[in-house]
């Protein structure tokens, strides 16, 4: 049995075929659905440097290709972060008694700064962001994807 397949029919068929053969994974939708918490009222720290985007090509660089270095500004503070596969190491300047949180879609982890404003926290796979509880002004870095 044959029938006329006009453009609308064909696109409609294709849409159904793609939804069966290449569906959006439920886990990805769940992660996206959880993306809105806590971001709305926090101020967004400004990205000032990203080694991934700003550095010279790999051939000209040192042998530290597994570390991504980022710098953010939040008010008058500078936040430097080095991200490796399993760890986040950073420094906030000027230092101070500032609670911070390392946030991933799977959960969050409190961290403390030392006297020099340094911190260190293990991270799992997937994106990560840093919440800074600046007095009266909660601030977050954008999500860092890895």
């Amino acid at each position: 049995m044959t029938r006329r397949l006009d453009d609308t029919d064909l696109l409609d068929l294709l849409r159904r075929v793609l939804d069966r053969t290449d569906p959006v994974p439920a886990a990805a939708v769940d992660a996206a659905g959880a993306a809105d918490w806590a971001a709305v009222d926090a101020e967004l720290a400004e990205l000032a440097f990203d080694s991934l985007l700003d550095e010279r090509p790999v051939a000209l660089r040192d042998d530290d290709g597994d570390v991504r270095s980022l710098t953010f500004t939040a008010g008058d503070r500078t936040v430097e972060i080095d991200v490796t596969a399993d760890e986040l190491v950073g420094r906030i300047d000027p230092a101070g008694d500032l609670p911070i949180e390392v946030v991933q879609p799977s959960g969050r982890r409190q961290a403390r700064l030392d006297d020099l404003g340094r911190f260190r926290a293990p991270v799992g796979p997937g994106p990560v962001r840093l919440h800074l509880f600046l007095p009266g002004r909660p601030t977050t870095t954008p999500w860092i994807t890895r």
Binding site: T2, R3, R4, L5, D7, L10, L11, D12, L13, L14, R15, R16, V17, L18, D19, R20, T21, D22, V24, P25, A27, A28, V29, A31, A32, G33, A35, D36, W37, A39, V40, L44, E46, L47, L52, L53, R56, P57, V58, G65, R68, P105, G126, P127, P142, W143, T145, R146
Partner: protein, 232 residues
């Protein structure tokens, strides 16, 4: 270069970094054009009334989680299919997908033209993919177009299709040139992307999208797989 934008809540927020090319949410024209899909509440493919982005965005900004989930639900196919044509592992494609919604949640308060969200998330998703690929390869690409490979990870398995016609469409689609596959994927989206948005994504002049779309559909229709189902 500082740009001050008026947020939906009337709070003035300063951002120094412009969005990447083609991703501006707040353009100079503030009034949505009449006749865009955003003016209709009826989906072109479904019978149910769809919530409008104009209503969902302010509610999500005010912390209404259900509104945010509706936004994700309405945009998920746009994001997923916008990043189909890259050489990505399944895990990386999911990461880029989720990251796109993270970006959107960060920028929600600066959305001035909610009806442009589909185009914005599609562009953002592809930028996320380029960032991921850069991180994977640790290279500075000379041309982003070089990083798009004609990979189509989702067109191999048709065991899920019980309908002969669906299987034929699937096989015919998989045999199309990668460019056609990408364009037709984008043409199946709801909410739809404009030809201008598709042109921007595929780096094609938008005047050529309509004719190319037609050519790709004709090619699919006349593929050997589909011949048995179509009239002469």
């Amino acid at each position: 270069m500082a740009a001050t934008t008026q947020t939906m809540r009337g709070v003035t927020r300063t951002r120094r970094r412009p969005f990447p090319r083609g991703t501006t949410l707040g353009g100079r024209t503030r009034t949505p054009r009449a006749g865009t899909y955003a003016d209709t509440v009826r989906s072109p493919t479904g019978e149910r009334e769809q919530p409008r982005f104009e209503d969902l965005v302010p509610r999500a900004i005010d912390g209404d989680h259900a509104a945010w989930e509706s936004i994700v639900a309405r945009l998920q196919r746009v994001v997923w299919h916008a990043i189909a044509g890259f050489d990505l592992s399944a895990a990386d494609r999911q990461d880029a997908f989720a990251a796109t919604f993270f970006r959107l949640s960060e920028r929600l308060a600066t959305v001035q033209q909610p009806q442009k969200l589909p185009g914005w998330v599609a562009t953002t998703a592809r930028n996320e993919v380029l960032t991921l690929l850069r991180a994977r390869r640790r290279l500075t690409p000379t041309d982003p177009a070089d990083m798009a490979l004609p990979a189509s990870p989702a067109t191999s398995d048709d065991s899920l299709l019980d309908d002969e016609l669906h299987r034929a469409v699937h096989r015919g689609f998989a045999a199309l040139p990668p460019r056609c596959q990408e364009l037709l994927r984008l043409a199946t989206l709801d909410p739809p992307l404009s030809y201008a948005e598709i042109g921007e994504l595929l780096d094609m002049p938008h005047g050529s999208i309509g004719p190319t779309r037609q050519r790709c559909l004709d090619q699919l229709r006349s593929s050997p797989d589909l011949r048995p189902f179509t009239e002469d």
